[in-house]
Symmetry: C2
Subunit: 432 residues, 2 copies
């Protein structure tokens, strides 16, 4: 006998969990399509060389890499962005190209609470458009998705790598050392301002008045955006970054997103090296579970795969955290069945009558199960109760002969004998 | 620069293909749910020991097996049945348990036309019910799915391992050699009757009158079911197998499945060793592309993972072949966009007006795109034409001032200036 187990960090989704996950994915798809995004899918397995070297040193270590039977180095998809960049380079796609993809990715991370080795990402990206209108649209979609899922306590944090680059320049940090500066800043929420400052000092980044500016404006929390904006507005890069954020705010406002849902935040850095413009993050403020969405503009990434230059921007929802919040806040009706009506089986002699009646109820639009074989009525009713099936149709010999059936309301316990032709109507009333 | 490539036997699905695939999966899910099946998902990665030794010698060679970073032998999912058997052994599930799963599987097979290394299976299974009513229900669902997808030229082939076992006994074949007998028979469609007979002879299976019976009744084609039934009806196993097929026919007929859609076929064997009862296959008869569905009862399989005995039966649709047929027969409208309305952008000064108008159209229920940045009108119209977006709303400065807009029908070329409040109604009329 083989012990039934799955690898650590991997999960089975039993029907009840699966129905919530599927509802979230359906809601997302519908909103994505409402804004003109189309679905795309890519293989779970890529050549290792496609993925390696794109996610930083730490990321590279987490790639599931192996040799296939032909000795080729392959790897499980680590995210949905690099595969999209490969796709954009490989095919002549109409541009702007707006795609969504909802799919699992794999990371050989240490499994811990809320962190898995296989998890779903839900991405939208716009390729071929350099205007910040595209970035703004992604945030409108993010807001619309969260509203559609019933979320209300969240904050969209917005910053711009151009502003951070201009700030680094103002602080006297060499271009080559900016990635180290950003990676230090990115740890702010995790390790706090003291640790970030020490990290920057250890890297030797802060000379002259830089330390004071970083301490007072970048790491102090609260609303420091305007102060930093004033510092960088003289730089061409800085001014361009500020103008993009203004454009984004105009679009969000015109789309009807209330100002309380988003905030410019100078301390937002995002971890990946490849961002070049606006960057985003959405945090749920109650319960405090951290970021449920991240993203930004990555105008140079597709250029790794093709000589054609292609601007691009995208965001990625983390499905697992959305599920966690919705479960914790009871935002979704718990159910372990989608069946509306159970038709019981009395005896082998009534098999055809049961099948026929169930078929008729399905034609009337009800998700209908025929209990799979004759059994004690009590057991069949327990089956319906355990699954939360609201209506049970009991079909005995007398009733079958008279083209009647007993309809039982599992919530109230009420039951009534009806003509079969009136069943659908009675069930519809019961369910409404 | 990295050359953008994907491994052989793997595929990207661009939006047009993806929309067809997704529509098929949605139709299937809806029918599965209509019959009371609930969704389940399992990890793409299993412990290698969970999968190995279940698919026969040839199958085992095709498993994508590798060591993870902790040195554990893991493998990519090869099908959806063994993971389900593991799940059934691992959790206390309410029984009968009716689940569906639509998900990719991986096989390190030689890539060739229509055969891929990553492909989707669409499975339904019923666990915990030994009555052939359960097997029959699977076939009712198969029929309902194919009808819902618009298929009509198909044949459900039905046989029973019990009948084949009884026949083997009648032919004087040892129990231990029955798997070899079935594997030989399973190649009939591929290699023809001569090759199958030679295979059986080479295995030394046919003594006495066995060769004549096999030649005349098992491999002759046409309707040999009754003749073989007469040969095995005296055996307890044979009689049980025949009774199960009778029950299945009663259910199919009561469910309204016309007799022309299914046929008992004594030469159907199915390749896997683990089947124990009724077995099925669906072939599309026009175009002749072979089997699009296979399955059967596997009462012993879950016992590999638990001491509890659990009867089970299931079928598996092959998504790739369904897609192939639907594309070849033009059974699905080709589209590369789901967008119904494009709102053009005239200038930066009209940005907010455009965003607001697009938001209003989305609220009226239309999938609406705002062109991502101001550009030449001609280019924006080409964008709509290339994607098959049927309605374009042109918003110029005069129109924006007067709360009007130009609605252009991209099919007819007609256009009219309308008040913005009447746009939704006019678009609805245009699209209907």
């Amino acid at each position: 006998m083989i012990e039934p187990q799955i690898p650590k960090g991997f999960r089975d989704f039993l029907p009840q969990q699966m129905m919530l996950r599927r509802d979230i994915m359906r809601t997302m798809s519908a909103v994505f399509e409402r804004y003109g995004f189309v679905p795309l899918d890519t293989p779970c397995l890529e050549y290792a060389r496609t993925l390696e070297g794109k996610y930083g040193e730490e990321g590279d270590k987490l790639i599931y890499r192996f040799e296939d039977r032909g000795g080729r180095a392959v790897a499980l998809r680590y995210d949905l962005t690099i595969p999209l960049a490969r796709v954009a380079a490989m095919y002549q796609l109409p541009r702007p190209f707006k795609r969504y993809q909802i799919a699992p990715v794999w990371r050989a991370d240490k499994p811990q609470k809320g962190r898995f080795r296989e998890f779903y990402q839900c991405d939208i990206d716009i390729i071929g458009e350099s205007s910040a209108c595209a970035d703004a649209e992604l945030l409108c979609v993010a807001h619309a998705v969260l509203q559609a899922l019933g979320f209300d306590n969240y904050l969209i944090r917005i910053n711009n790598r151009k502003i951070l680059n201009a700030l680094a320049e103002r602080l006297g940090i060499d271009t080559a050392r900016i990635p180290g500066f950003l990676r230090a800043l990115d740890k702010l929420d995790k390790t706090g301002p003291g640790a970030v400052l020490r990290d920057m000092q250890a890297q030797g980044l802060l000379t002259g008045d830089a330390e004071r500016i970083v301490r007072e404006h970048l790491l102090a929390g609260g609303d420091n955006f305007e102060a930093v904006a004033a510092l960088v507005s003289g730089s061409e890069t800085g001014a361009a970054g500020l103008a993009e954020l203004d454009l984004i705010a105009r679009v969000l406002s015109a789309d009807g997103v209330d100002g309380s849902y988003y905030k410019r935040d100078i301390s937002l850095a995002r971890g990946l090296d490849y961002y070049t413009g606006p960057i985003f993050e959405v945090v749920v403020t109650e319960p405090r579970i951290g970021s449920i969405l991240g993203g930004g503009r990555y105008d140079g990434l597709i250029g790794l795969f093709t000589k054609q230059s292609m601007p691009a921007t995208g965001i990625s929802f983390g499905l697992e955290r959305l599920v966690t919040v919705m479960e914790e806040l009871g935002m979704h009706a718990q159910t372990n069945s989608l069946t509306q009506v159970l038709v019981t089986q009395f005896s082998d002699g009534l098999l055809e009558d049961g099948v026929r009646l169930a078929a008729r109820l399905r034609q009337s639009g009800f998700n209908t199960e025929l209990y799979p074989a004759p059994d004690k009525l009590k057991k069949q009713l327990s089956y319906a109760a355990a699954r939360g099936i609201p209506a049970v149709v009991v079909l005995g010999p007398d009733e079958a002969r008279d083209e009647r059936a007993t309809l039982k309301n599992m919530l109230t316990g009420d039951q009534a004998v009806l003509e079969q032709q009136h069943l659908a109507e009675a069930i519809r009333t019961m369910l409404s």
